[in-house]
């Protein structure tokens, strides 16, 4: 399963990436599975996504939690808590 992942705001700067396609090996996967895969890269990926700082997520433009189930072709955005208004 392939998902398009976007890194927004401070997270984009910390990870040094604006976005990428990620392949989840098993047939099914959740946002939590995606985060685990990204954390395993080590370095800034583990630093930012290990839970020390809050990371929020949207799947196909809707806010989602770590248990959200992903489907092939989904757009997943990871970002810090929002600060608009």
């Amino acid at each position: 399963m392939k998902v398009r992942v976007l890194y927004l705001a401070r997270l984009r700067e910390a990870l040094g990436a604006a976005g990428e396609e990620v392949t989840l090996e098993s047939g099914a996967g959740t946002v939590g599975d995606l985060l685990a895969l990204l954390r395993a890269r080590g370095g800034a990926w583990r630093e930012e996504l290990a839970g020390r700082r809050i990371v929020r997520c949207a799947v196909n433009h809707e806010l989602a939690g770590v248990d959200a189930v992903l489907a092939d072709g989904d757009e997943v955005a990871l970002f810090p808590p929002v600060t608009g208004g």
Binding site: L8, A9, R10, H61, L63, E75, F79, P80, G84
Partner: protein, 153 residues
């Protein structure tokens, strides 16, 4: 279109007039304008850049307006939110609510701002004398949004 995301400034009077045009059943017009300050967390701020998530931003703002209309008898509501680089005293966001009476208009206006602060995909980056820094979300914003929580049905 009850929501707009734009870099251009907005004219509060013109927006309210346009929203009210032709409506004779409205008894209450409530509004809020968010403005950029020259100080933040003890540091002077020279400028601020607002990033957003194209594709999700309008959708998130529309959902907030939809929720406000579900909770209160609003005739209409409007959100205009700017993005890009702003300077102190610049307008950032406008919320306008129209209703038959003031309770709904005022409460919905506050609700929309509290939900926007915690759910709308915008992020602020400030330019200070010490350098650039991203604004951190506040616990007080989460608390403000939390006061609108409804009992689980």
């Amino acid at each position: 279109m009850p929501v707009r995301v734009q870099s251009a400034d907005f004219d509060v009077s013109a927006e309210i007039a346009a929203l009210r045009a032709g409506r004779t059943g409205i008894g209450a017009v409530a509004s809020f304008v968010g403005v950029m300050r020259d100080m933040s967390d003890g540091e002077p701020v020279r400028a601020m850049t607002l990033e957003h998530y194209p594709g999700m931003t309008e959708k998130a703002l529309e959902a907030i307006v939809g929720e406000a209309k579900r909770r209160w008898p609003l005739a209409e509501a409007l959100i205009v939110h700017r993005v890009g680089r702003l300077l102190p005293a610049d307008q950032i966001v406008l919320v306008v609510t129209l209703a038959g009476h003031r309770e709904a208009a005022l409460a919905a206006c506050a609700f929309i701002m509290d939900y926007l602060k915690t759910r709308a995909p915008f992020w602020k980056k400030e330019e200070t004398p010490a350098g650039e820094r991203w604004v951190e979300a506040r616990a007080s914003d989460d608390q403000a949004a939390g006061r609108w929580a409804q009992p689980q049905q």
